[in-house]
Symmetry: C3
C-alpha cells in the first residue's frame, strides 16, 4: 500500500491528453503484428477449408453437419452483444456516448484478433503448429473480448484509447491463460463464462480502477450524470444484452440438449431478475420511483449468474431462484455498495460492474459448483452425465462431488487472475505516458473526439442554469462568448 501510494504521487502531474502520435502508432504496429502472426499461425479448420467436401465424404457427413449451422446464429447474437450491447449500455453518460460506442468498437475489434491467436495457441494448435479456426473460435474470441469490455465499464470516461488498448492486450492474454487453467487443466465447466469471463473481467477492471484512483474526480461531476435520451440509448444496449444472453450462454454448449437447456435456463433466470430488480429499485427509492441505472444494469445479473450452470440440469425453477436472488443483490449493490466502494475502498466503478458482473459472477461460480456436485445418474441419465460434464478420457473416473470441487477451484483461479492481473496492469497504466484525461476532463468526449459544433452550446447553458441565481450581464456575456 505504501509503495502504491508513493507510486501514485509519482504519477500526479499535469495531464496531456494528446495521443496524436502514440495512438496511431499503437494501432498500426499492433495491427501489423496481427497480420504477421496470423500469416505464421492461423489457417482454416477442416470445416471452413475447401477440403471440407472430401472431409465430409470421408466422415460420411452432410453439409448441415458443419458446425457452422449449429453455432452461427448464436455467434451473431453474441456478436451483437459485444458491439451493440456493451457499446450502447455505456452510452448513458450525457457527454461520453462517442467514447462509449467508439472505444468499445476499437478494443473489441483489436481484441478478437489477439484472442484468436492467444486462445488458438492454447486450444487449437494442430500437429504442424498451425491454429485451425472455425466458428467456435470466433465465438470464443468474442467471449474473451467481453471480459475486457466488462473491465472497460469500471474505467469508463477516465482513460485514453491507448490505455484501453493496453488494458485489452493484457486482458486477453490473462484471459487465455486463465481459461486454459480453468477449462483444460482443472477441467471445470464454464459454458457461459460466469467465472472465466465475468468474475475475471470484473475484478480485473475493478483493480485497474483502484490503481487509477482519482481523488479529485468530483471536478467532473457535472458530466457524471445522464440525460433523458442518453438513458434511452443505453436501454438499447441493455435489451440486446438481455435478449441475446441465452445465445451467449448456449453458444459453445454441447450440440442438442446442451444448447437447448442453456437457452431455457438463461431465459428464465433473466425474466425473474427483471421483477426483483425493479421491486428493489422502487422499494429503496424515497418516492417509490424506478431508477434507470438499476433497470439498465441489474436486470442482466441473472444471465451472468447462470453462466456456469446453464448447460447443467439446473431445472427451470432453479434458474428462476438464481435470477430472483441476483436481481435483489445486484440492485442493492448499486444503492449501497458502489458509493461505499468509492468512499472507503478508493474504487471508482463508473458502470457498477461490481454489481453487474463481479457479484453475479461469483454467485454463478458457486451455483455451478453446487449444481455439479449434486449431479446424479438418476437426473442426468448414464450418458447425459458423461456428455454434460465430459467425463471421458482421463476424467472418466471423476464423480460429480469431485467436479463440484473442480468448479470451486476454477472460480478461485478466475478471482486470483482478475485481482492480480488488474493490479499489475493498473501499475502499468499509471505511467505518465498514456494521455489520460485530467480530473476535470473525465466523462467528456471533447479530448478525444471531434464534436459537432452546436453541442458546444450545452455546457455553458448548463453551468448558466446551475450556478447563477440573479441575472447578471457579465455572466450572460460569458455565455454568449461560449456560444
Amino acid at each position: 500500500m505504501g509503495c502504491i501510494q508513493s507510486f501514485r504521487q509519482l504519477c500526479d502531474y499535469p495531464k496531456n491528453t494528446n495521443v496524436h502520435i502514440s495512438f496511431p502508432a499503437v494501432c498500426f504496429v499492433w495491427q501489423t503484428a496481427m497480420i504477421i502472426l496470423f500469416g505464421i499461425f492461423v489457417r482454416y479448420n477442416e470445416e471452413s477449408d475447401s477440403h471440407w467436401s472430401e472431409y465430409k465424404k470421408a466422415k460420411n457427413l452432410s453439409d448441415i453437419d458443419n458446425d457452422f449451422y449449429f453455432r452461427y446464429p448464436s455467434f451473431q447474437d453474441v456478436h451483437v452483444m459485444i458491439f451493440i450491447g456493451f457499446g450502447f449500455l455505456m452510452t448513458f453518460l450525457k457527454r461520453y456516448s462517442f467514447g462509449a460506442v467508439g472505444f468499445n468498437f476499437l478494443i473489441a475489434a483489436f481484441g478478437i484478433q489477439w484472442a484468436l491467436l492467444m486462445q488458438g495457441w492454447f486450444h487449437s494448435m494442430d500437429a504442424e503448429g498451425k491454429i485451425r479456426i472455425g466458428v467456435e473460435n470466433m465465438i470464443n474470441a468474442d467471449f474473451c473480448v467481453a471480459s475486457c469490455l466488462i473491465a472497460y465499464g469500471a474505467v469508463l470516461g477516465k482513460v485514453s484509447a491507448v490505455q484501453l488498448l493496453v488494458l485489452t492486450l493484457f486482458g486477453v492474454t490473462l484471459f487465455a491463460v486463465d481459461e486454459y487453467i480453468i477449462i483444460s487443466l482443472i477441467h471445470a465447466k464454464d459454458a457461459g463464462g460466469s467465472m472465466s469471463i465475468h468474475t475475471f473481467g470484473a475484478y480485473y477492471g475493478l483493480c485497474i480502477s483502484w490503481m487509477l484512483y482519482r481523488p479529485n474526480l468530483n471536478q467532473s461531476s457535472r458530466l457524471q450524470g445522464s440525460v433523458y435520451h442518453s438513458d434511452v440509448f443505453a436501454m438499447i444496449g441493455t435489451l440486446f444484452l438481455w435478449m441475446f444472453w441465452p445465445s451467449f450462454n448456449s453458444a459453445i454448449a454441447n450440440h442438442g440438449d446442451g444448447q437447448h437447456r442453456a437457452v431455457i435456463n438463461t431465459y428464465l433466470s433473466l425474466a425473474s431478475t427483471v421483477l426483483t430488480c425493479m421491486a428493489i429499485s422502487s422499494l429503496f427509492n424515497k418516492h417509490g420511483k424506478l431508477d434507470m441505472v438499476h433497470i439498465q444494469n441489474s436486470t442482466l445479473a441473472g444471465g451472468v449468474a447462470v453462466g456456469t450452470a446453464a448447460e447443467f440440469m439446473l431445472t427451470p425453477y432453479g434458474a428462476l431462484i438464481v435470477g430472483f436472488c441476483c436481481g435483489i443483490i445486484s440492485t442493492l449493490g448499486y444503492i449501497y455498495l458502489t458509493p461505499f466502494m468509492e468512499k472507503h475502498l478508493k474504487i471508482q466503478d463508473t458502470c457498477g460492474i461490481h454489481n453487474l458482473h463481479a457479484m453475479p459472477g461469483l454467485i454463478g461460480g458457486i451455483v455451478g459448483a453446487i449444481t455439479a456436485a449434486s449431479a446424479s445418474k438418476s437426473v442426468y441419465g448414464e450418458e447425459g452425465l458423461i456428455n454434460t460434464f465430459d467425463f471421458v478420457g482421463k476424467y472418466k473416473d471423476v464423480v460429480p462431488t469431485q467436479q463440484g470441487g473442480l468448479q470451486a477451484a476454477g472460480l478461485s483461479v478466475a478471482l486470483c487472475f482478475g485481482v492480480g492481473g488488474g493490479v499489475l496492469v493498473g501499475f502499468i497504466l499509471r505511467l505518465p505516458i498514456w494521455g489520460d484525461p485530467a480530473d476535470d476532463n473525465c466523462f467528456d468526449d471533447e479530448p478525444y473526439w471531434e464534436l459537432p459544433e452546436d453541442e458546444e452550446v450545452v455546457t455553458p447553458v448548463l453551468q448558466y442554469n446551475n450556478h447563477m441565481q440573479n441575472k447578471d450581464v457579465a455572466e450572460s456575456h460569458f455565455t454568449m462568448e461560449q456560444t
Copy 2:
C-alpha cells in the same frame, strides 16, 4: 352503461401515484409464486433434457434434428420484436420513453413466465402432470405476451406499473384459454396469431381503455406529442418489428415448407403495405407531407393481416394484395377512426392499436378463413393439404370448406374474449388502489421514474418561453444565447 357511468363517478377521486409499497409487493409475491409453481409443474422436455442422447438414439435422430435448430433463430427474432420492437415503438412520446421501454420490459418479463405455466397446463402436460418445456414453449410464451403488449399500447401513459401487471396477469390467462379454444377445441389454424394475438389483444386493450376513459385527458395534451429524436427512437421499434415479422409468422409453422412459405408471404405482404401506407399518408395531408405516426405503425399492418394465412398457399400475389389493402385501411384509421373513437366512443387509444392490430387482425382472420375454405388437393397436393391443415386423427374427415367455417368461428371467439375480458379487467383497473396518474400527469415519466437532473433545465426554459408575457431584453438575450 348506466352502472358503468356511476361506477366511473365512484372512481373519480384525487389520484395518488405513489406505488412505493404496492409495486414491490406485487413483484415479490408474484415472482415467488412463479418459482413455487415452476417447482411443482415445469420440467425440461425430451429435447432439452440430458436424456436427449438416449432419446435420439432410440428414435434414430441426430443432434441437428433437435427442434432447437429449427426454431431458435426465429425465437430470437420474436424475442427482439417483443422487447425492442414493442418497447421502442412506444417511445414516440416526448416524455414517456422510460415508461414505454421500461414497463414493456417489466410486463413482458413477468408475462412470459406466467404464459409458460398457463399454456403449459393447456398444451404441454405429460402423464405425470408435469409441463415439459422446450424452445417452442418459449416462442408461444413470447406470442402470448405480445397480446398484452398490444393492449398496453392503448393505455400507454395513462396507467401505473401495478395496473400493467394486473392487465398482464389477466391478459395472459385469457389468452391461454382463448388460444386453447381456438386451436385445440375448434381446430382453427393461426400460426401468426392474427386472431389469438392481434384481434384478442387489441380489443382487450381497447375495452380496458374505454373503461378507463379520462374526460379531462387534454390536461396533459402538452405531453401527447413527439419530439424529433423520440420519433427516430420509435423507428427502431418499427423496423425491428417489420424486419422480423416473417420470423414471427413462421416461428411455430410446420418444419420445412410451412416455415419457408410463411416467411415469403409475410415478407411480401409487409413490402406492399409500406407503399400504400406512405401513399395514403401523403395523399391525405394538406401539404402532401408524410406523417411519422403512419410510417411507424401502419407499415406493419400487412404482417398482422397475413398472420393466420401465412403458412397456407396464399400465393405471393395474394400476400401482396393483403398488404396493399391493409396499408390503406390502417393509415385511414389513424386519420379518421382514432379521432372519431376518442370523440364519440370514449376510447382513448394512445398508440392507435385499433388501426395496427384490431382491424388488420380481423382482416387476417377473414383472409385465413377464405384461404382455408378455398384450399384444394390440386393446389396443396394430397399430403400437403393434410400437413398444412393438420387433417389427421379425429379431424381427418374435415374438408377445406368446413375448415373455413372453423377459422371464422375461431375469429369470433377471439373477438368475444377480447371485448369481454377487456371490460372485466377494465372494471378491476378502475378501483382506486392502483396508483394511476392524474389527468394532467399522463404521458409523463415523472411520477414513476427518477429523471436525470438536467432534464429540469429543459422544462423551465420551455415553460419560461411559453408562460412569459412581457418581453425583457436581458432575458431575451439569455434565451438567444442558449439556442
Copy 3:
C-alpha cells in the same frame, strides 16, 4: 459536356417540393403493377410449396435439408443491414433523420418486389415461364436493393421521394442485367457483391449526383452537419452493418465450407479495418482527435473489399491485409478525395459512398481476380476447386488463371453499368417534374415530413443565429413566440 451544361440551365427553375399528387400516384400505380406481375409470374419454389413433403420423399431428404435452414438466419441479418443498417447510417444529419430512415424504408420495400421480378426473369424462370421463389431469391432481392441504397447515400438530402423511386426502378433493372452478365454470361464469382452491388451501386449514385450537381448547395450548409445524438443514431447503423457483414458475404455462398469461410474472412477483414481507420482518423486530425464520420463509414470498407473473395481461400491473414489497406484508403478518401470531388469534379457525395463503396468495391474486384487467378488444386483440393469456382458443365475446362480474367471482366462490366446507368438516370432525374428541394432547403425533413411541433423552435433560431447580426427585439420576440 456542353449539352449537359445547357440541359442543366434548362432545368434551373424555382423549385416546387409539393409531391401531393405525384408521390401517391407513383406508389399506387407501381404497387398495383407489382401485384399484377406477381400474379402472372411468381410462384413458390419446390422448397416453399406445400408439395415439399412429396418432393423431399422423392429426393430422400429430410426437413432440415430445406434451403430455408441453411440461409434464413443469414437472410435476417442481411434484412437488418438493409433497413436498420443503411437506414440509420444515414441519420447522421441533424435534421434529415426522418428522410434517411423513412425513404430508405420506402425504396427498399419497393425495390425488393421489383428485384424479385427482374432477377427472377433472368435466373429463376421454370419451363412454364413461372418465377419460383424461395429464401435465396429474397436474399438476392435484398442484395439488389442494397445497390440502390448505396446510390441513395450520394444524393441524400437533395432529392424527393419520387426521384428516389425512379432511381430505384432503374437501379434494380440495371442491377439485374448487370448481375446476369457478370454471373451467368461471364461466369465471374461475386458472393458478397463487391462488383455487382458496391462498385455498380456506388458509381451509379455518384454519376446521378454529378448530373444533379447543385452549385449553390452551400445555401443549406447550416444543415449539413450532425448533432451529438444524430451521430449516436448513425452508429446504430454502422454497427449493425459491421456485425452482420459476415452474413452478407456468406448468405448465398456454397453450403458448408463456402459459407463458413466467407464468414471468417469477412469477420477478420472488418476487424483489421477498424484499427487502421481510427489510426488514420487520429493521425490526420490536427489535435489527434477521432472523427465520427470516419468511424461511421470507413470501418465498413473491409467488408466491401472481401465481398468477391470471401468464399475463396483468401487465408485469414489475406483477409486482414485487405482490411488493413481499406481502412487507410477509405479514411484518406474522406479527408482528401470527397472535398476534391465536390470542388473540382462537381460531385456532391453526401455520405461519401465513393470512399465506403466505390474504392473498396474496386479493390474487392481486383482482390477477387488475383485470388481466383492464384487458386490451385494443392490449396483448394481437387473437389474444392471445382465447388468453389463452379468449374462444371460448360465451364469444366476453365483454369484459375482464366477465372482471374473473367473476374476482371466482371469488374469492368459493373463499372460501366454504374457510370452509364448513372448518367442516364441522372438526366431523367433533372427533369423539372420531380419535386426536389431548393438549394436552401436541402438536408431538411421539413419539405416532405410533418415535423413535431416543438421542433419548429430550431429552424427560426438557427436562421436567426446565422443571418442576423444586430440584436433586434422584434426578432427575439418572434423567437420566443415560436419556442
